[in-house]
């Protein structure tokens, strides 16, 4: 491996804001990428991994960021010194990039065939017929079905996975030496992610492309990386081969990062003897209205039945569009269910008119902690709002809010601060505190840890478990991530296209799935057989 030529060499690169800040935001980064090699840059948000990849592409926003030191050699040519014209040439032929969100990387008013064709039109002298042949061939290589039809399709007519394939086809059609992929699968479902990762790997082997893969997801890393570069807050922490990093990380930070990755090993047993807190029976949700002649309604969920017991964490798992969020919203009537019953502490809440009584018993934690707190209100005001609404005197509410803040490991004196003064993880803890302070019997966590970095995610998951232990609250935990569900759920409900395909104790569902879809989900989860906490492969105990 060591005699293969180096394609990209990042030498001692420092990137600073303009005007220069107190400390450069990326400091002295050095790593090489060889032909046919995949190097993963891993780090949490704010680690500088994306900025580094932008610098390699020469795409740093000129008025706010600049490379202040070091060299970035692409086949021996320093991309920091070349003219803009030469950089454009390099970008097309030598280095290509795949972004996180394929919808924004594609032009919505042009057919995707046209957009791939444009790359050839600008950079080659091929005739129209030759170009078309080449585009269709490339589309076949990225394993798109029915390429003639897709050639004529617009981006919105394709699925997320298909769009990302188009972007990859665009990136690779000129056979670049280096492919930069910035979180290319983060916005995709796990099953699609699996396919895209395999596709990149295959194309890379055929073309001997060097790949720099920027990601926060250690699962993905363990699947595709040859070597790993770990970054933290602008510093390079450690580089090494995949096995070195995953089994014997040298630095504490790497050790912490790796061990924060949830594994697919279920840890909690069901609690069948506890009383039922909520029972959902035959719930269905239909969107749209039935016309006289046509039926344009969409069934977002149907035939949903499951039980949540006291002190139990029930996971609802599914990919986007599976109806899991619809169910979560229906059980507390944020959305009105079309059919079925939701029995909460022995009372069916679907026909009830007085929602206030319901909502005191059920609280909701949203996915995005940046939008679920009113930016204009202090933490204390947000925490006390619910209590005051239910008639708790201001003083009492304030005392309770302070207590709850301490319960989520935030000091009580932050009550006077505004949400923008907190990080994502801290805000999510505040959001949890706001729900817990109401002393509900059921908490609904809708993708509550999905937007968080792995280390923060691990903390929040631990916090939810602590709260469950201390208060005996039940939690309905909605997630797309099987590994997260495996960490804290007692029982699991798997949903696909609005229906429950399988449910049962977490151990059974994850170890012996009976439905094909569950099996597919488990197979697609990155690194299903790596036990990150213990730095070793999973021991299959049957």
């Amino acid at each position: 491996m060591n005699d293969t030529p180096v394609v990209l060499s990042v030498e001692d690169v420092t990137i600073d804001t303009r005007p220069a800040g107190r400390k450069p935001i990326v400091r002295n980064i050095t790593f090489d990428v060889r032909e046919a090699e995949t190097v993963c840059i891993v780090g949490e948000s704010g680690s500088g991994k994306s900025v580094t990849s932008m610098a390699i592409m020469g795409l740093l926003p000129k008025d706010s960021l600049q490379v202040t030191g070091g060299r970035i050699l692409l086949d021996g040519e320093d991309v920091l010194k070349v003219t803009p014209a030469r950089m454009r040439e390099l970008r097309a032929s030598r280095v290509a990039m795949v972004f996180q969100e394929p919808m924004t990387a594609l032009n919505p008013v042009k057919t995707v065939g046209d957009q791939i064709d444009e790359v050839l039109r600008l950079h080659t002298k091929l005739s129209a017929a030759e170009r078309r042949k080449k585009v269709l061939h490339m589309m076949e290589r990225v394993q798109l079905p029915d390429v003639e039809r897709i050639y004529r399709s617009y981006p919105h007519q394709l699925s997320g996975g298909q769009r990302q394939r188009i972007v990859i086809a665009m990136a690779l059609i000129l056979r670049p030496r280096l492919l930069l992929a910035d979180e290319p699968t983060t916005a995709l479902d796990v099953t699609t992610q699996k396919q895209i990762l395999r596709l990149i790997k295959e194309l890379q082997e055929e073309e001997k492309t060097a790949v720099v893969f920027v990601t926060h997801d250690f699962g993905v890393v363990s699947e595709i990386a040859d070597r790993i570069v770990v970054m933290n807050r602008g510093d390079l922490v450690e580089t090494g081969t995949r096995d070195e990093i995953l089994t014997h990380p040298k630095e504490d930070y790497t050790r912490m990062l790796v061990s924060s990755v949830p594994s697919l090993v279920p840890r909690c047993d069901p609690v069948p003897k506890n009383p039922k807190v909520m029972e959902v029976i035959g719930l269905a949700k239909r969107y749209g209205k039935k016309g006289f002649t046509s039926d344009s309604t969409v069934l977002a969920a149907q035939g949903i039945s499951f039980t949540v017991r006291k002190g139990e964490i029930t996971g609802i798992i599914g990919e986007s569009g599976s109806g899991k969020s619809t169910v979560a919203r229906c059980v507390m009537r944020l959305t009105e269910p079309s059919e079925g019953a939701v029995v909460l502490n022995g009372q069916d809440i679907v026909p009830m008119h007085n929602l206030r009584a319901v909502r005191k018993q059920v609280q909701y934690i949203f996915q995005d902690p940046y939008r679920s707190l009113n930016p204009r209100r202090t933490i204390g005001q947000s925490l006390m709002e619910g209590l005051v609404n239910y008639g708790v005197p201001e003083k009492e509410a304030s005392r309770k809010a302070a207590e709850t803040l301490e319960m989520v490991n935030l000091p009580a004196h932050v009550m006077n601060r505004y949400p923008h003064q907190f990080s994502g993880g801290q805000r999510q803890r505040i959001a949890i505190a706001r729900a817990v302070v109401m002393e509900p019997s059921l908490l609904i966590a809708d993708e509550a840890v999905s937007a968080l970095d792995v280390t923060v995610q691990a903390q929040v998951l631990r916090l939810l478990e602590d709260i469950r232990t201390n208060t005996g609250v039940s939690i309905l935990f909605i997630t797309h991530d099987l590994r997260v569900a495996a960490q804290i759920c007692n029982t699991i409900v798997v949903m696909q296209r609005g229906r429950i395909v399988e449910q049962g104790p977490a151990r059974d569902v994850l170890a012996w799935p009976t439905h094909d879809y569950t099996r597919a989900l488990i197979d697609a989860a990155p690194a299903p057989d790596w036990d990150f906490q213990n730095f070793r492969p999973v021991e299959r105990a049957v």
Binding site: S45, G46, L334, N374, N389, P411, R417, S423, G424, Q459
Partner: protein, 304 residues
Amino acid sequence: MTFEPDSAVAPNAPLDLPEMEGSGKGGAWQVLRDVLSSWPARISAIVLLLIVLMAVFAPFLGTGNPVTINPALRLQGSSAEHWLGTDSYGRDVYSRIVYGARISLAVGAGTVIVSLVLGIFFGVLTGYFKWADIIVMRFMDGLMAIPGILLAIALVAISGATLTTVLIAIAVPEIPRVARMVRSVILGVRNEPYVEAASILGTGVWKMVWRHMLPNTVAPLIVQGTYIFASAIMTESILSFLGAGVPPETPSWGNMMADGRTFFLLKPELILYPGVMVSLTVLSVNMLGDVLRDRLDPRMAKRL
């Protein structure tokens, strides 16, 4: 991607909280300081302040009675007694200009208050309640389809020319614009998780609107308010010029221009003085509005 990682891994490790800065959020004073840091805004503010002071202290600025007619002294030039000369009825032009500021500012401020209050009311109503949306907004659409001046003239014709009717006539056509803006903001924040979160916490409708929704409209409303203020002064002048405004003897800049029109060739200053005043006022308000918009709209601010 924008999340800052938590520094603490162990649950009880010290927190990495940013320092408290000032009042915590960009307060009103901060905005004001920011706005007044640019020269155009500073000059506009000074001009406006002078005009306001002029209106408030009109009787003490060496003025005479602005409505006293003196046919013997028609169309005179500048003199020690009449600083800006007299008009076709022999009234003191300087006094009329100074007192005219009262009318213009009253119409501007009155229109802003009336249109904002009613606009916010209808905007909240239509943004929050679907049933109201269908009815009220169709009415608003109809109102917007009629040219504002035409509507104002019709309203004045129906109810007679007093300051109050003129004010209402100018304010009514502005209401749909304000209502639409408030409605769109409310619709936008309705599905924000923090609004849903508040409803889960049992927050009632009006508390919800007041606490969680209306604060989002403040910035765009301030900007809209400045434009309404400017355009109200213009409209008042136009109405007066057309003879459909405040009663002719009232000293208003529009009335003065209307009177001066007949003697334009003989004495163009009669139009020039009030015209300059209207332009100065409107220009200053608009400039302030622009700077405010840039300051309050983060998208615009980035481009600057």
